[in-house]
Protein backbone atom coordinates (compact mmCIF):
# COMPACT_ATOMS: atom_id res chain seq x y z
CA UNK A 1 0.00 0.00 0.00
CA UNK A 2 1.44 3.33 -1.09
CA UNK A 3 1.03 6.07 1.46
CA UNK A 4 0.65 9.68 0.40
CA UNK A 5 1.10 12.86 2.39
CA UNK A 6 -1.07 14.82 -0.04
CA UNK A 7 -4.43 14.25 -1.67
CA UNK A 8 -3.74 16.73 -4.46
CA UNK A 9 -4.41 15.48 -8.01
CA UNK A 10 -1.31 16.04 -10.18
CA UNK A 11 -3.25 16.53 -13.40
CA UNK A 12 -5.44 19.20 -11.80
CA UNK A 13 -2.38 20.89 -10.37
CA UNK A 14 -0.46 21.02 -13.66
CA UNK A 15 -3.57 22.04 -15.61
CA UNK A 16 -3.99 24.95 -13.23
CA UNK A 17 -0.32 25.98 -13.59
CA UNK A 18 -0.58 26.03 -17.38
CA UNK A 19 -4.13 27.41 -17.69
CA UNK A 20 -2.70 30.86 -18.41
CA UNK A 21 0.32 30.71 -20.73
CA UNK A 22 1.12 34.37 -21.54
CA UNK A 23 4.38 33.39 -23.21
CA UNK A 24 5.50 30.77 -20.70
CA UNK A 25 8.12 28.38 -22.06
CA UNK A 26 7.79 24.92 -20.51
CA UNK A 27 10.28 22.06 -20.15
CA UNK A 28 8.88 18.79 -18.80
CA UNK A 29 10.79 15.96 -17.12
CA UNK A 30 10.44 12.39 -18.36
CA UNK A 31 7.52 10.29 -17.19
CA UNK A 32 4.45 11.71 -15.50
CA UNK A 33 5.35 15.44 -15.73
CA UNK A 34 5.57 15.09 -19.52
CA UNK A 35 2.17 13.34 -19.57
CA UNK A 36 0.67 15.90 -17.17
CA UNK A 37 1.73 18.85 -19.33
CA UNK A 38 0.51 17.14 -22.49
CA UNK A 39 -2.82 16.34 -20.85
CA UNK A 40 -3.17 20.01 -19.96
CA UNK A 41 -2.99 20.81 -23.68
CA UNK A 42 -0.26 20.35 -26.26
CA UNK A 43 1.57 23.61 -26.99
CA UNK A 44 4.40 24.67 -29.30
CA UNK A 45 6.09 26.26 -26.29
CA UNK A 46 6.38 22.87 -24.55
CA UNK A 47 9.58 20.83 -24.76
CA UNK A 48 8.85 17.29 -23.61
CA UNK A 49 11.54 14.93 -22.33
CA UNK A 50 11.27 11.17 -22.75
CA UNK A 51 14.72 10.44 -21.33
CA UNK A 52 17.93 12.19 -20.22
CA UNK A 53 16.90 11.87 -16.58
CA UNK A 54 18.17 14.75 -14.46
CA UNK A 55 18.21 17.30 -17.28
CA UNK A 56 14.91 19.20 -17.09
CA UNK A 57 15.93 21.97 -14.66
CA UNK A 58 19.26 22.54 -16.45
CA UNK A 59 17.66 22.71 -19.89
CA UNK A 60 15.53 25.35 -18.20
CA UNK A 61 18.68 27.19 -17.08
CA UNK A 62 20.24 27.19 -20.56
CA UNK A 63 16.96 28.37 -22.07
CA UNK A 64 16.40 31.06 -19.42
CA UNK A 65 19.88 32.44 -20.10
CA UNK A 66 19.26 32.45 -23.86
CA UNK A 67 15.78 34.02 -23.53
CA UNK A 68 16.05 36.46 -20.62
CA UNK A 69 12.76 38.18 -21.48
CA UNK A 70 10.65 35.01 -21.31
CA UNK A 71 9.59 33.09 -18.22
CA UNK A 72 10.88 29.51 -18.35
CA UNK A 73 9.19 26.82 -16.27
CA UNK A 74 10.75 23.40 -15.78
CA UNK A 75 8.12 20.96 -14.51
CA UNK A 76 9.55 17.69 -13.32
CA UNK A 77 9.18 14.91 -10.75
CA UNK A 78 10.92 14.21 -7.47
CA UNK A 79 12.85 11.25 -8.92
CA UNK A 80 14.12 13.31 -11.87
CA UNK A 81 15.13 16.27 -9.71
CA UNK A 82 16.84 14.01 -7.17
CA UNK A 83 19.10 12.75 -9.97
CA UNK A 84 20.09 16.36 -10.66
CA UNK A 85 20.47 17.75 -7.14
CA UNK A 86 23.80 19.32 -8.05
CA UNK A 87 22.02 21.17 -10.82
CA UNK A 88 20.13 23.19 -8.20
CA UNK A 89 23.50 24.48 -6.98
CA UNK A 90 24.50 25.36 -10.54
CA UNK A 91 21.21 27.16 -11.21
CA UNK A 92 21.46 29.18 -7.99
CA UNK A 93 24.81 30.69 -9.00
CA UNK A 94 23.35 32.21 -12.14
CA UNK A 95 20.01 32.67 -10.34
CA UNK A 96 17.99 33.90 -13.36
CA UNK A 97 14.82 35.69 -12.30
CA UNK A 98 12.97 34.26 -15.33
CA UNK A 99 13.45 30.62 -14.28
CA UNK A 100 11.00 28.61 -12.17
CA UNK A 101 11.59 24.97 -11.21
CA UNK A 102 8.44 23.08 -10.21
CA UNK A 103 8.69 19.56 -8.82
CA UNK A 104 5.49 17.52 -8.86
CA UNK A 105 6.46 15.51 -5.81
CA UNK A 106 4.56 12.27 -5.15
CA UNK A 107 7.32 10.85 -2.90
CA UNK A 108 7.76 7.94 -5.29
CA UNK A 109 9.25 6.73 -8.56
CA UNK A 110 5.84 6.48 -10.20
CA UNK A 111 6.89 5.25 -13.63
CA UNK A 112 8.76 2.19 -12.40
CA UNK A 113 6.42 0.62 -9.85
CA UNK A 114 5.92 3.27 -7.15
CA UNK A 115 9.10 2.64 -5.19
CA UNK A 116 9.49 5.22 -2.42
CA UNK A 117 11.90 8.03 -3.35
CA UNK A 118 14.19 10.10 -1.14
CA UNK A 119 11.44 12.69 -0.64
CA UNK A 120 9.24 9.81 0.54
CA UNK A 121 11.98 9.08 3.04
CA UNK A 122 11.81 12.66 4.28
CA UNK A 123 14.14 14.73 2.09
CA UNK A 124 12.78 18.25 1.58
CA UNK A 125 13.70 19.49 -1.91
CA UNK A 126 12.61 23.07 -1.20
CA UNK A 127 15.06 23.23 1.70
CA UNK A 128 17.80 21.98 -0.61
CA UNK A 129 16.94 24.66 -3.16
CA UNK A 130 16.86 27.31 -0.44
CA UNK A 131 20.23 26.18 0.85
CA UNK A 132 21.64 26.36 -2.69
CA UNK A 133 20.57 30.01 -2.88
CA UNK A 134 17.31 30.15 -4.84
CA UNK A 135 15.55 33.50 -4.41
CA UNK A 136 12.40 31.69 -3.29
CA UNK A 137 11.74 28.05 -2.43
CA UNK A 138 8.71 26.48 -0.80
CA UNK A 139 6.47 23.42 -0.73
CA UNK A 140 2.71 23.50 -1.27
CA UNK A 141 0.24 20.72 -0.52
CA UNK A 142 -3.18 21.93 -1.62
CA UNK A 143 -4.98 23.71 -4.45
CA UNK A 144 -4.70 27.08 -2.72
CA UNK A 145 -0.93 26.62 -2.77
CA UNK A 146 -1.03 25.66 -6.46
CA UNK A 147 -2.97 28.87 -7.14
CA UNK A 148 -0.16 30.82 -5.46
CA UNK A 149 2.45 29.08 -7.61
CA UNK A 150 0.38 29.72 -10.76
CA UNK A 151 0.22 33.44 -9.92
CA UNK A 152 3.96 33.48 -9.19
CA UNK A 153 4.64 32.36 -12.78
CA UNK A 154 3.36 35.74 -13.96
CA UNK A 155 4.91 37.87 -11.21
CA UNK A 156 8.36 39.47 -11.16
CA UNK A 157 11.06 37.79 -9.10
CA UNK A 158 14.49 38.67 -7.75
CA UNK A 159 16.03 35.35 -8.80
CA UNK A 160 15.34 31.73 -9.61
CA UNK A 161 12.37 30.18 -7.84
CA UNK A 162 11.66 26.61 -6.74
CA UNK A 163 8.29 25.13 -5.84
CA UNK A 164 7.60 21.57 -4.74
CA UNK A 165 3.96 20.56 -5.15
CA UNK A 166 3.11 17.52 -3.06
CA UNK A 167 0.62 15.31 -4.88
CA UNK A 168 -1.12 11.97 -4.46
CA UNK A 169 0.98 8.97 -5.50
CA UNK A 170 -0.87 7.57 -8.47
CA UNK A 171 -0.39 7.12 -12.21
CA UNK A 172 -3.23 8.71 -14.18
CA UNK A 173 -3.82 7.39 -17.73
CA UNK A 174 -0.82 8.34 -19.87
CA UNK A 175 -1.18 11.29 -22.23
CA UNK A 176 1.59 10.86 -24.76
CA UNK A 177 3.19 13.68 -26.76
CA UNK A 178 5.34 13.07 -29.85
CA UNK A 179 8.53 11.13 -29.12
CA UNK A 180 10.34 12.61 -32.12
CA UNK A 181 12.72 14.94 -30.31
CA UNK A 182 13.93 16.72 -33.47
CA UNK A 183 10.33 17.58 -34.32
CA UNK A 184 9.63 18.83 -30.80
CA UNK A 185 12.87 20.86 -30.82
CA UNK A 186 12.19 22.47 -34.18
CA UNK A 187 8.58 23.18 -33.23
CA UNK A 188 9.76 24.84 -30.02
CA UNK A 189 12.39 26.94 -31.84
CA UNK A 190 9.87 27.97 -34.50
CA UNK A 191 7.58 29.12 -31.68
CA UNK A 192 10.40 31.53 -30.71
CA UNK A 193 10.88 32.64 -34.30
CA UNK A 194 14.07 30.60 -34.73
CA UNK A 195 14.67 28.76 -37.96
CA UNK A 196 15.91 25.30 -38.75
CA UNK A 197 19.31 24.78 -40.33
Amino acid sequence: MVTSVSSLDRREAVARLLARRDGLLVITGLGSPTYDAHAAGDHDGNFYLWGAMGSAALIGLGLAQAQPDRTVVAITGDGEQLMGLGGLATIAISNPSNLVIIVIDNDHFGETGMQKSHTGHGLDLATVAQSCGFAEACTVRDMAGVEQVARALHSPASGARFFAIKVRAENPPRSLPARDAVYIKNRFRAHLGLGTI
Binding site: L25, I27, F47, L49, W50, G51, A52, M53, G54, S55, A56, L58, I59, G60, L61, G62, L63, A64, Q65, A66, Q67, R70, G84, G86, G87, A89, T90, I93, S94, A181, V182, I184, K185, F188, R189, L192, L194, I197
Partner: protein, 191 residues
Protein backbone atom coordinates in the same frame (compact mmCIF):
# COMPACT_ATOMS: atom_id res chain seq x y z
CA UNK B 1 60.05 28.56 -29.50
CA UNK B 2 58.73 26.63 -32.46
CA UNK B 3 57.31 23.28 -31.47
CA UNK B 4 58.64 20.38 -33.49
CA UNK B 5 55.88 18.58 -35.30
CA UNK B 6 55.73 15.91 -37.94
CA UNK B 7 55.48 17.15 -41.51
CA UNK B 8 51.87 17.71 -42.45
CA UNK B 9 50.17 18.91 -45.62
CA UNK B 10 49.66 22.67 -45.78
CA UNK B 11 46.10 23.72 -45.06
CA UNK B 12 44.82 25.09 -48.34
CA UNK B 13 41.79 26.80 -46.87
CA UNK B 14 43.44 28.49 -43.88
CA UNK B 15 42.15 32.08 -43.81
CA UNK B 16 45.52 33.44 -42.79
CA UNK B 17 48.95 32.19 -41.90
CA UNK B 18 49.30 31.52 -38.20
CA UNK B 19 52.39 32.61 -36.31
CA UNK B 20 53.40 29.32 -34.74
CA UNK B 21 55.74 30.74 -32.13
CA UNK B 22 53.07 33.16 -30.95
CA UNK B 23 50.43 30.44 -31.06
CA UNK B 24 52.44 28.15 -28.80
CA UNK B 25 52.33 30.78 -26.09
CA UNK B 26 48.89 32.20 -26.74
CA UNK B 27 46.65 29.40 -27.93
CA UNK B 28 44.03 30.01 -25.23
CA UNK B 29 43.61 33.59 -26.52
CA UNK B 30 43.38 32.31 -30.10
CA UNK B 31 40.85 29.72 -29.00
CA UNK B 32 38.81 32.43 -27.28
CA UNK B 33 38.80 34.48 -30.51
CA UNK B 34 37.71 31.47 -32.55
CA UNK B 35 34.81 30.77 -30.17
CA UNK B 36 33.80 34.43 -30.17
CA UNK B 37 33.88 34.45 -33.97
CA UNK B 38 31.61 31.39 -33.84
CA UNK B 39 29.17 33.53 -31.78
CA UNK B 40 29.34 31.45 -28.63
CA UNK B 41 27.21 33.13 -25.95
CA UNK B 42 27.13 30.57 -23.13
CA UNK B 43 30.01 28.62 -21.59
CA UNK B 44 29.74 25.76 -19.09
CA UNK B 45 32.66 24.08 -17.39
CA UNK B 46 34.01 21.86 -14.71
CA UNK B 47 37.40 23.50 -14.22
CA UNK B 48 40.59 21.97 -15.53
CA UNK B 49 44.06 23.51 -15.42
CA UNK B 50 44.25 23.17 -19.21
CA UNK B 51 41.12 25.32 -19.58
CA UNK B 52 41.97 27.90 -16.90
CA UNK B 53 43.03 30.73 -19.23
CA UNK B 54 39.95 30.26 -21.42
CA UNK B 55 37.69 30.20 -18.36
CA UNK B 56 39.22 33.50 -17.19
CA UNK B 57 38.76 35.11 -20.60
CA UNK B 58 35.08 34.13 -20.73
CA UNK B 59 34.48 35.19 -17.14
CA UNK B 60 35.66 38.69 -18.07
CA UNK B 61 33.42 38.80 -21.16
CA UNK B 62 30.11 40.53 -20.45
CA UNK B 63 28.58 39.17 -23.68
CA UNK B 64 29.03 35.60 -22.51
CA UNK B 65 27.27 33.79 -19.64
CA UNK B 66 29.52 31.38 -17.74
CA UNK B 67 28.21 28.44 -15.71
CA UNK B 68 30.38 26.47 -13.32
CA UNK B 69 28.94 22.95 -13.02
CA UNK B 70 28.89 20.36 -10.25
CA UNK B 71 29.18 17.59 -12.84
CA UNK B 72 29.80 17.66 -16.58
CA UNK B 73 26.48 16.16 -17.65
CA UNK B 74 24.77 19.36 -16.51
CA UNK B 75 26.54 21.11 -19.37
CA UNK B 76 24.91 18.85 -21.96
CA UNK B 77 21.49 19.89 -20.66
CA UNK B 78 22.43 23.58 -20.55
CA UNK B 79 23.70 23.42 -24.14
CA UNK B 80 20.35 21.93 -25.18
CA UNK B 81 18.39 24.66 -23.43
CA UNK B 82 20.65 27.31 -24.93
CA UNK B 83 20.02 26.05 -28.47
CA UNK B 84 16.27 25.78 -27.84
CA UNK B 85 16.48 29.48 -27.04
CA UNK B 86 18.71 30.37 -29.98
CA UNK B 87 22.12 30.58 -28.26
CA UNK B 88 25.37 28.87 -29.18
CA UNK B 89 27.39 27.43 -26.34
CA UNK B 90 30.53 25.49 -25.54
CA UNK B 91 31.25 22.92 -22.81
CA UNK B 92 34.74 22.76 -21.28
CA UNK B 93 35.69 19.60 -19.43
CA UNK B 94 38.44 17.12 -18.69
CA UNK B 95 38.58 13.58 -20.06
CA UNK B 96 37.46 12.12 -16.71
CA UNK B 97 34.26 14.16 -17.01
CA UNK B 98 33.29 12.54 -20.29
CA UNK B 99 32.41 9.44 -18.29
CA UNK B 100 29.93 11.49 -16.28
CA UNK B 101 28.07 12.52 -19.45
CA UNK B 102 27.22 9.19 -21.05
CA UNK B 103 23.43 8.89 -20.76
CA UNK B 104 22.97 12.67 -20.99
CA UNK B 105 24.57 12.62 -24.44
CA UNK B 106 21.37 10.95 -25.67
CA UNK B 107 19.71 14.34 -25.18
CA UNK B 108 21.77 16.04 -27.90
CA UNK B 109 21.75 13.12 -30.31
CA UNK B 110 17.98 12.58 -29.96
CA UNK B 111 17.20 16.28 -30.39
CA UNK B 112 20.02 16.81 -32.93
CA UNK B 113 21.23 19.75 -30.90
CA UNK B 114 24.59 21.33 -31.71
CA UNK B 115 27.17 20.32 -29.12
CA UNK B 116 30.72 21.62 -28.96
CA UNK B 117 32.79 20.03 -26.18
CA UNK B 118 36.44 20.87 -25.62
CA UNK B 119 37.98 18.00 -23.68
CA UNK B 120 41.41 18.34 -22.08
CA UNK B 121 43.05 14.92 -22.01
CA UNK B 122 44.66 13.22 -19.04
CA UNK B 123 46.07 9.75 -18.67
CA UNK B 124 47.71 9.54 -22.07
CA UNK B 125 51.08 11.38 -22.10
CA UNK B 126 53.65 11.49 -19.29
CA UNK B 127 50.86 10.90 -16.79
CA UNK B 128 51.87 10.74 -13.12
CA UNK B 129 48.45 9.79 -11.72
CA UNK B 130 47.32 6.28 -12.67
CA UNK B 131 43.72 7.10 -11.71
CA UNK B 132 43.50 9.29 -14.82
CA UNK B 133 44.39 6.42 -17.13
CA UNK B 134 41.12 4.41 -17.37
CA UNK B 135 38.98 7.34 -18.48
CA UNK B 136 41.82 8.66 -20.63
CA UNK B 137 41.73 5.38 -22.53
CA UNK B 138 37.94 5.35 -22.69
CA UNK B 139 37.27 8.98 -23.64
CA UNK B 140 37.17 8.65 -27.45
CA UNK B 141 35.49 5.19 -27.49
CA UNK B 142 32.78 6.34 -25.05
CA UNK B 143 32.02 9.46 -27.08
CA UNK B 144 32.00 7.48 -30.32
CA UNK B 145 29.73 4.84 -28.80
CA UNK B 146 27.22 7.58 -27.95
CA UNK B 147 27.26 8.96 -31.49
CA UNK B 148 29.48 11.98 -30.82
CA UNK B 149 32.02 12.96 -33.49
CA UNK B 150 35.54 12.98 -32.03
CA UNK B 151 38.25 15.30 -33.33
CA UNK B 152 41.70 15.62 -31.85
CA UNK B 153 44.40 18.29 -31.69
CA UNK B 154 48.03 17.56 -30.87
CA UNK B 155 49.52 21.00 -31.59
CA UNK B 156 48.29 24.58 -31.06
CA UNK B 157 47.90 25.06 -34.80
CA UNK B 158 45.86 21.87 -35.07
CA UNK B 159 43.75 23.03 -32.18
CA UNK B 160 42.73 26.37 -33.66
CA UNK B 161 41.88 24.91 -37.06
CA UNK B 162 40.11 21.93 -35.52
CA UNK B 163 37.95 24.04 -33.22
CA UNK B 164 37.02 26.35 -36.12
CA UNK B 165 35.93 23.30 -38.07
CA UNK B 166 34.16 21.71 -35.09
CA UNK B 167 32.21 24.92 -34.39
CA UNK B 168 31.03 25.04 -38.00
CA UNK B 169 30.02 21.38 -37.87
CA UNK B 170 28.17 21.86 -34.61
CA UNK B 171 26.33 25.11 -35.21
CA UNK B 172 25.83 25.04 -38.96
CA UNK B 173 25.23 21.30 -39.45
CA UNK B 174 23.68 20.57 -36.00
CA UNK B 175 26.33 17.99 -35.20
CA UNK B 176 27.63 16.85 -31.82
CA UNK B 177 31.38 17.28 -31.69
CA UNK B 178 34.06 16.72 -29.06
CA UNK B 179 37.53 18.15 -29.64
CA UNK B 180 40.17 16.36 -27.58
CA UNK B 181 43.09 18.57 -26.54
CA UNK B 182 45.94 16.10 -26.22
CA UNK B 183 47.93 15.95 -23.02
CA UNK B 184 51.06 16.45 -25.11
CA UNK B 185 49.69 19.81 -26.23
CA UNK B 186 48.78 20.82 -22.69
CA UNK B 187 52.13 19.82 -21.24
CA UNK B 188 53.24 17.75 -18.30
CA UNK B 189 51.53 18.54 -15.00
CA UNK B 190 54.00 19.54 -12.27
CA UNK B 191 53.63 17.60 -9.01
Amino acid sequence: MVRKTAARPAATDAPERLDHALLDAEWPEQLYRVLKAAQVRQVSYVPDAGHSALIRLFAADREVVSNVLTTEEEGIAIATGAWLGGSRSVLLLQSSGVGNCVNMLSLVTMTRTPLLMLVTMRGEWAEFNPWQVPMGLATAPVLTAMGIRVMRADTPRDLIETVESAAALAFEAEQQVAVLLSQRLLGRKKW
